[in-house]
């Protein structure tokens, strides 16, 4: 029996070394360990062995069975490992640097700047409003305290339409009156201050060149409540502009005349490029004229239904205007204003996202 076992052991070792795939290994396992395999055969032969040798022979067979089983498992592991290794080695190393994916779309730069500003204003509790591009004379001028003979109403500057009394809005301020009427009730009944910004496309009759466009974007904002003051206006403008430019900006106010504000201001920010020392982009003045603003004119508040004739200062407020087109030019270093409306995809497709 001993001899038989060592003979089988030798055979197993030989054959085990010869197999190199899972399938042949399984065959080998069946040849030794299945019901009709060599080990079972040995067990059957055990019956013929005299009793005094049975125990020893049984132990030998069991030890052999265990050894075969263990060596088989070990070999199985090894073969799996080798096979995986082969798989890995045969796999291609991929080239991430190849152009991947679809062509990317792009946002118009005005959209990007407008969204950024809208987010800032929304975070400060402002409603974002929209308004038509065709407006009537009343909303664009009269309701803004612009008298009938004012130069702003000249045909040379403003696009009047063939429809009666209508024009393409020449400034976003044209929405002020409508917004005051829209939110006036909430202000008076619930004490909810009017805080709104209204971006929009504006039109002025200008010859187009690198610095002038007849179609451009502005964003206007108003805030109205009881006791809104010049001091609040300066605070707000400074806070808002610091947010827009992502740094602490220094602002200064100068008197500026606009019929719909009183007092009216031109707001300058200290030049962000030279820090106020003077450079070509601020024309050596150290300051950049950025946005007109002011306390909303009592007449405008009256026309907007905010204040009565009897108490023209019950509510007060401020208004400001930002040139979105100009901000976009500053932000992206666009030198030619025509880039915005010409629709050249070689330019516009660069504005992939924020």
């Amino acid at each position: 029996m001993k001899d038989r076992i060592s003979e089988l052991k030798e055979r197993f070792s030989k054959e085990l070394a010869a197999v190199s795939d899972q399938k042949s290994l399984e065959e080998l396992r069946l040849a030794f360990l299945s019901k009709k395999g060599h080990v079972s055969m040995l067990m059957q032969e055990l019956a013929k062995i005299p009793n005094e040798h049975k125990k020893e022979a049984g132990q030998l067979i069991n030890a052999f069975k265990q050894e075969v089983s263990e060596r088989f498992d070990a070999r199985m592991e090894e073969i799996k490992r080798i096979e995986e290794e082969c798989l890995i080695n045969s796999t291609e190393s991929y080239d991430e640097s190849l152009p991947a994916g679809k062509e990317k779309g792009s946002y118009h730069p005005i959209t990007l700047v407008q969204r950024e500003l809208e987010d800032i204003f929304e975070s400060m509790g402002f409603d974002v409003e929209d308004y038509s591009e065709i407006v009537d004379d009343y909303h664009c001028f009269e309701a803004l305290n612009i008298p009938p003979y004012h130069p702003a109403r000249d045909m040379q500057d403003t696009y009047y339409l063939s429809t009666p009394n209508q024009l393409l809005k020449s400034h976003t301020s044209a929405a002020q009156n409508a917004i005051m009427h829209k939110y006036g009730k909430l202000l008076k009944e619930k004490g909810r201050p009017i805080r709104a910004v209204f971006p929009g496309r504006c039109f002025r009759n200008e010859a187009i060149d690198a610095c002038h466009e007849n179609t451009f974007f502005q964003m206007e904002g108003i805030m109205i409540d009881k006791n809104i003051s010049v001091s609040n206006l300066i605070y707000f403008m400074k806070t808002m502009l610091s947010e827009v430019f992502e740094r602490d900006v220094t602002v200064r106010l100068r008197p500026g005349f606009f019929p719909f504000v009183e007092p009216g201001f031109e707001l300058d920010i200290q030049c962000l490029i030279c820090g106020g020392k003077g450079c070509p982009s601020c024309k050596n003045s150290g300051w950049l004229e950025l946005c007109p603003c002011g306390m909303i004119h009592p007449n405008v508040l009256k026309y907007g239904g905010i204040n009565s004739e009897e108490d023209p200062y019950e509510y007060t407020g401020f208004a400001f205007g930002l040139g979105l087109t100009r901000l976009a030019m500053m932000k992206y270093g666009v030198k030619d204003i025509r880039t915005f409306n010409e629709g050249d995809l070689n330019a516009l497709s660069q504005f992939v996202s924020k």
Partner: protein, 788 residues
């Protein structure tokens, strides 16, 4: 406008102040200063020099060799001026002196040494005259510094005219001096004037016919004028402030305009007898003193000498009655005209003058008389022998009402948000010329006449006066406080942003901006023309310009055309406005649209069209959780394809149009390309109610799938087949999927996968088969058969 600090200092003592800082404060408190120029800073060591001998240069046909007596010493000088001659006194720049930004050095000119330089007025920067060297008064002592004779040193700053639009009082030095006086808190000196010494009864005969256009007319007649040259000071100041010295009388009127802001006109006394201010009865032609002829319409106010026109009121005098260098009598006009009338006339004639620019700002009529008296003072100073031969005629048609504004400190505090003392309020207003009545914290301010024509009328205006002098830089800044209430995002904005994100991020489209009107040339390239619509006034009907777009495509198709070399496949979109004719009330029917165009030279038109359908479906599904259906429609525009133009509907609401392009237009854009247009009305989309998301608990039992391959006859659309497996007929039908579409020349076949599921058990084969059979039966009625 240019402002001379020397001139300002005539009226306010600015000793001890840094000029640059003062001008900076002027910017912050009054009006924007665009630039500062330091005159005379490069003129140094220039003295009165007498040419004691003048000989021709031996080696030159134009140079002279001079001996110049500069007081302490005589210099040899080589000079090329044509007027150099012995006996005259001139401006002489000594060696080591400076002129025109260069240092004078001894130099050899054609072999002869020259020590110094004789200067023209232009070289000293006080005139444009470069015809020869200056010829100075013979009585001046040789060696006198030229700056003692001419006020060469000055600080000139330029104020942005636009920032003065609402300040008629700042169009002259005196008004600006008042601002400086308020800023430095020193008194403003009175303007020196002279009374009319004439005691007789004669007047200047003045008639005003159009009292709505002429508010005041003051006039005086002066004779026996023998002096014709204005003083050095006047000439230099005029020159520094952008004017040009002409002759004494013209110079004084210009000087007063720059000083007071009151335009004046001096008529030749021989040519004007009886002044009539009137519009012409019919259109006439008139030659102004610049020699140009103008067409004068019947609404242009004119000045007549009886019946002969002698000037365009407030704009420019006439050539025939012009003051010349030897005029010895004049009729002086100091008038106030209606601002709007002057502005309209000036812009109609394209003749904007310094005078009209001032009248347009609504000048204070009180000034006319003051200006006449100032004129007399300056004239008497220059020519003591002249004689006034009339009383000052003064016809005052329209006097502005006196404006009083009551207010209190509490109001100022509330409006400014800071605490400005009552004493300070009082002092500021007084320094600006306001009359102030005060009782503790209660005030009543009387607006000075020069601010009362339109500028200051109410409390908010008073706030501006106080705060701008107080200085905005000195403001303590404060936040607002208000109740905490929710802010809502507008649906409109959300939808627009979402649409943009989807088109850019999911579909790789490029956002563009275009104009609201059509470009007829762009459209012509595509064989198209603008459609009849609302148009811009003043645009050319003939050329077809200025017509507003009826569809976004009128702008986007030309953009695709322009970008066709950008890429073989691309898409653009814009959210913008169109105008679809007029509403019932005649106003323009403006609509807010989102339009996209897909372009490809690689893809088939059909697959591009299905991409378009996918975009629309996804958009409506994401924004509204709604399904879209399409109904073919007749083309509404020339570029739309007659067969593949469809309305985009959700429920019964039409949201827009999707279409391919008419072959005629397509051929103009590019060879072998495909285009798909989508146009969606965003206002209509905003109004569509969005469906709620409906959640259905998924079954825990597996679904049973059943595939059918169907042959679809021509004319049957997928939506027709969908009617055969309605959810209400087969509730167990959980999902239907198109697995494959196969098109060949004569057959169209489609493979579908139907998934059936029950919530409490798995369906049996028989149950599934029964449902499939019912679907097959219904399909058969539509001639859709199983593929064999």
């Amino acid at each position: 406008m240019f402002v001379s600090m020397n001139w300002i200092k005539d009226f306010v003592d600015l000793d001890g102040f840094d000029m640059e800082q003062l001008i900076q404060r002027f910017t912050l408190s009054t009006a924007e200063v665009e630039g500062i120029e330091y005159k005379g800073k490069d003129v140094d060591n220039v003295v009165v020099g007498e040419i004691i001998s003048c000989e021709d240069h031996p080696d030159s046909d134009h140079l002279h060799v001079l001996k110049v007596d500069a007081g302490s010493e005589v210099f040899d000088v080589v000079c090329g001026a044509p007027n150099a001659r012995a006996g005259i006194k001139t401006a002489f720049a000594k060696v080591d002196g400076n002129v025109c930004g260069m240092k004078i050095k001894p130099a050899k000119l054609r072999g002869i040494m020259s020590y110094g330089m004789c200067c023209s007025a232009k070289e000293l920067g006080i005139s444009d005259d470069h015809s020869g060297i200056m010829e100075l008064d013979g009585s001046l002592a040789n060696g006198t510094d030229i700056k003692e004779i001419y006020p060469i040193d000055d600080v000139i700053f330029e104020v942005d005219n636009k920032s003065l639009t609402n300040r008629p009082d700042l169009w002259g030095h005196y008004g600006i001096a008042r601002e400086f006086a308020a800023l430095v808190d020193r008194p403003l000196k009175p303007l020196p004037v002279a009374e009319n010494p004439y005691t007789g009864e004669d007047t200047v005969d003045v008639t005003i016919r159009n009292e709505d256009k002429c508010y005041r007319y003051s006039a005086v007649r002066v004779e026996n004028i023998t002096e014709h040259v204005s003083s050095n000071v006047m000439q230099v100041r005029l020159y520094y402030c952008g004017s040009r010295p002409i002759n004494l009388l013209a110079d004084i009127t210009n000087y007063i305009m720059l000083e007071l802001g009151q335009p004046m006109h001096a008529f030749n006394g021989d040519k004007v007898e009886k002044i009539v201010v009137s519009t012409p009865d019919e259109t006439i032609r008139f030659t102004t003193l610049d020699g140009n002829e103008h067409e004068i319409t019947t609404d242009t106010l004119m000045i007549y000498n009886d019946k002969t026109p002698v000037g365009i009121a407030g704009i420019m005098g006439g050539l025939d009655s012009e003051i010349t260098d030897d005029t010895n009598s004049l009729v002086l006009e100091s008038a106030n005209f209606d601002a709007v009338s002057i502005r309209k006339s000036a812009s109609r004639m394209a003749l904007r003058t310094d005078a009209s620019a001032r009248y347009e700002k609504t000048l204070d009529p009180e000034m006319t008389m003051l200006a006449v008296k100032r004129f007399l003072k300056l004239l008497f100073d220059a020519d003591s022998g002249c004689k006034c031969v009339s009383k000052i005629t003064d016809i005052y048609v329209k006097k502005y009402p006196k404006i009083e504004v009551p207010f209190n400190k509490q109001f100022i505090d509330r409006y400014t948000g800071i605490d400005i003392s009552s004493d300070r309020i009082e002092k500021t207003l007084q320094s600006l010329g306001f009359g102030v009545w005060r009782n503790g914290d209660d005030f009543k301010a009387t607006v000075p006449t020069w601010r009362a024509t339109k500028d200051v009328s109410m409390q908010a205006d008073i706030v501006e006066e106080i705060t701008r002098i107080y200085g905005y830089d000195n403001f303590e800044i404060k936040t607002t406080y208000e109740p905490l209430l929710p802010a809502r995002k507008s649906n409109r904005k959300v939808n627009e942003n979402h649409t943009r994100d989807l088109l850019v991020k999911n579909y790789g489209l490029h956002e563009v901006h275009s104009r609201i009107w059509c470009d007829p040339d762009d459209l012509r390239n595509l064989g198209l023309a603008p459609e009849d619509n609302v148009r811009l006034l003043g645009s050319s009907e003939e050329k077809g310009t200025g017509i507003l777009r009826t569809s976004m495509m009128q702008c986007l198709l030309p953009l695709v055309y322009k970008n066709r070399s950008f890429s073989d496949t691309f898409g653009i979109f814009e959210i913008g406005r169109v105008v679809c004719g007029t509403n019932e009330d005649g106003t323009a029917n403006e609509k807010r649209m989102c339009a996209a165009v897909l372009y490809s030279k690689e893809k088939s038109e059909k697959s591009l069209y299905m991409e378009g359908v996918d975009i629309v479906n996804t958009l409506i599904s994401e924004l509204k959780h709604r399904e879209v259906n399409y109904v073919k429609t007749d083309p509404g525009h020339a570029w739309q394809h007659p067969k593949n133009t469809a309305k985009i509907l959700t429920g019964d609401t039409c949201l827009g149009i999707i279409n391919t392009i008419h072959p005629a237009t397509l051929a103009k854009i590019a060879k072998n390309c495909a285009l798909v247009c989508i146009e969606i009305d965003m206002d209509v989309l905003d109004e569509v109610l969005s469906c709620d998301l409906e959640f259905e608990e998924p079954s825990r039992f597996p679904a049973v799938d059943y595939d059918l391959s169907l042959v679809v006859p021509e004319g049957i659309r997928y939506e027709n087949m969908q009617e055969c497996w309605k959810k209400k007929d087969i509730p167990e039908l959980a999902n239907v999927k198109v697995i494959d579409i196969y098109d060949s020349k004569d057959t169209k076949s489609i493979t579908m996968r139907f998934s059936f599921v029950l919530s409490d058990r798995t369906l049996t084969g028989e149950e599934v088969q029964a449902r499939i059979d019912s679907i097959i039966d219904k399909l058969a009625q539509k001639n859709v058969t199983l593929r064999v």
